[in-house]
């Protein structure tokens, strides 16, 4: 029997993530929502979701003693970061006046800025970036299997990741500027959008993750 641990560190709604995984999981797969280091490290796959502010996220992760557990899981097994769970994998975030993060990936998390505008029309763009935007796959990856180029996924965020190594990027999206919408390295994949809220395309990505052996 295969198992998936959804890391629960007190940040928001994990029910939709676990429900979407259960919806797509092959029979016999166990989805556990947990903050237990033992259960996270024992699982075959790990999903690291999260919403809210970077400082609160890091605070909750530390309060539960999960920093090293997350770093270890991100090195050892198929690992999927979602939204804030992607952002805190980087070294540092501009949010909350500057927040040190987990440093699993090199680079920083940046604010879209108060004066974001569409480079073509000049129209001011709203923050948060909220809604369905197109995801341009910048490299082939097993998690993109069955998902067409430029498919729309649901986003809601005011900060975006800026990896120090361009080779980490697996997808980009345009919103006033071109930002990294997904990163991939070995057994790790992380997305800025919410696959659990992105209907068919999102469910397909989760199904791909559940079938992924952690290699490119």
């Amino acid at each position: 029997m295969s198992s998936v641990a959804v890391i629960d560190y007190g940040m928001g709604n994990l029910r939709s993530v676990s429900k979407a995984l259960e919806h797509m999981a092959p029979a016999g797969t166990r989805v556990v929502v947990t903050d237990s280091a033992i259960r996270i490290l024992a699982a075959d796959r790990v999903v690291f979701p999260g919403v809210g502010a970077a400082r609160d996220c890091m605070h909750e992760i530390r309060a539960r003693g999960l920093e090293d557990v997350i770093r270890q899981a991100a090195r050892l097994k198929p690992f999927l970061g979602i939204c804030m769970g992607m952002q805190v994998l980087l070294e540092h975030s501009e949010e909350n006046g500057g927040t040190p993060c987990l440093g699993v990936l090199p680079g920083a998390v940046r604010y879209f800025g108060e004066r974001l505008s569409d480079p073509r029309s000049g129209e001011r763009l709203k923050i948060p970036h909220m809604g369905w935007n197109q995801v341009r796959q910048t490299r082939p990856h097993p998690l993109w299997s069955g998902i067409a180029q430029d498919t729309r996924f649901y986003f809601v965020h005011s900060y975006y990741v800026d990896p120090a190594d361009a080779a980490l990027s697996a997808a980009s999206t345009d919103y006033g500027l071109r930002f990294t919408a997904a990163v991939a390295r070995d057994n790790l994949f992380a997305v800025q959008f919410h696959p659990e809220k992105s209907q068919q395309a999102g469910l397909q990505l989760l199904a791909n993750f559940l079938a992924w052996d952690g290699t490119d």
């Binding site: 709604n13 029910r15 429900k19 919806h23 919403v51 709203k126 948060p128 809601v156």
Partner: protein, 257 residues
């Protein structure tokens, strides 16, 4: 290409049942929120909004079960409004599977509640619902005020100023309803929509008055709304969400098709 404008069907739920009659030929139980939510999801709704209009707070638990059921079958964002007055109310809805909650009257009586909610759960899940009515006369510069109790009670609060204040307190999105237009099917109050959209930095959902598909497009093109919400034109199966999106696309609006 870029971010799509959103179409959001709204369902009024009273004690666990969708009211205001929903008519789809192939739906067995027109009052079942789960069945209707699935239908809208299939048609391509970008999000769903549930408005709990249950009078008794004892029956609110019913709404929690509705949200749980919908969230385990429909994988698009869900907003729940109506009766959200405390941090505990918000937590209960988010834990049930809602992605956002809409705070309405509670914000008027206690604006700090919006700040508290945003600090606790993040701005991304805090929608402030504003019910506004035009109070200026013919020929005067337009002015709108916040009304409570279904549009019956004026508060003296300027709607545009209020929207700014709510965003400053942490609202991540504004759901703006024109009480003059609500139920009239004569189109959004475009001047109100535009005034609020231009005043705030967060996305605005236009609501109140949609009677045909062009009204939806006008909300975006003239009202500058980021999303449009409608109930009856979709409930009575006059139009599908897909038709609405095609019309918007024909008028040059970027949508998710």
């Amino acid at each position: 290409m870029g971010l799509a404008k959103r179409i959001i069907p709204c369902l009024d739920v009273d004690n666990g049942r969708v009211v205001k009659g929903v008519k789809f030929v192939d739906i067995r139980d027109a009052g079942d929120p789960v069945e209707i939510a699935r239908r809208y999801d299939t048609e391509g709704a970008d999000e769903l909004t549930f408005l709990d209009i249950t009078a008794s707070s004892d029956d609110r638990e019913t709404m929690v079960h509705v949200v749980e059921q919908v969230a385990s079958q429909v994988f698009i964002p869900l907003t729940v409004g109506g009766g959200i007055r405390t941090v505990a109310d918000i937590r209960r809805m988010l834990n049930a599977g809602a992605d956002k909650v809409a705070i309405n009257t509670a914000a008027v009586f206690n604006p700090e509640f919006v700040g508290e909610a945003a600090a606790r759960f993040g701005s991304q899940c805090i929608v402030v619902a504003i019910d506004a009515k035009r109070v200026s006369g013919e020929g005067e510069p337009p002015r709108w005020e916040i009304f409570t109790h279904g549009g019956r009670k004026p508060t003296g609060i300027d709607a545009v100023e209020w929207a700014r204040r709510m965003v400053a307190l942490g609202a991540g999105e504004i759901l703006l309803t024109s009480m003059d237009r609500d139920g009239t099917r004569s189109g959004f109050d475009l001047a109100l929509t535009r005034a609020v959209c231009e005043a705030v930095s967060v996305p605005v959902i236009a609501s109140g008055g949609v009677g045909d598909l062009d009204h939806l497009a006008e909300g975006v093109l003239e009202g500058k709304a980021d999303a449009v919400l409608a109930a009856s034109i979709f409930h009575f199966a006059e139009h599908t969400i897909e038709e609405a999106k095609r019309r918007m696309a024909e008028r040059g609006i970027e949508v998710r098709l």
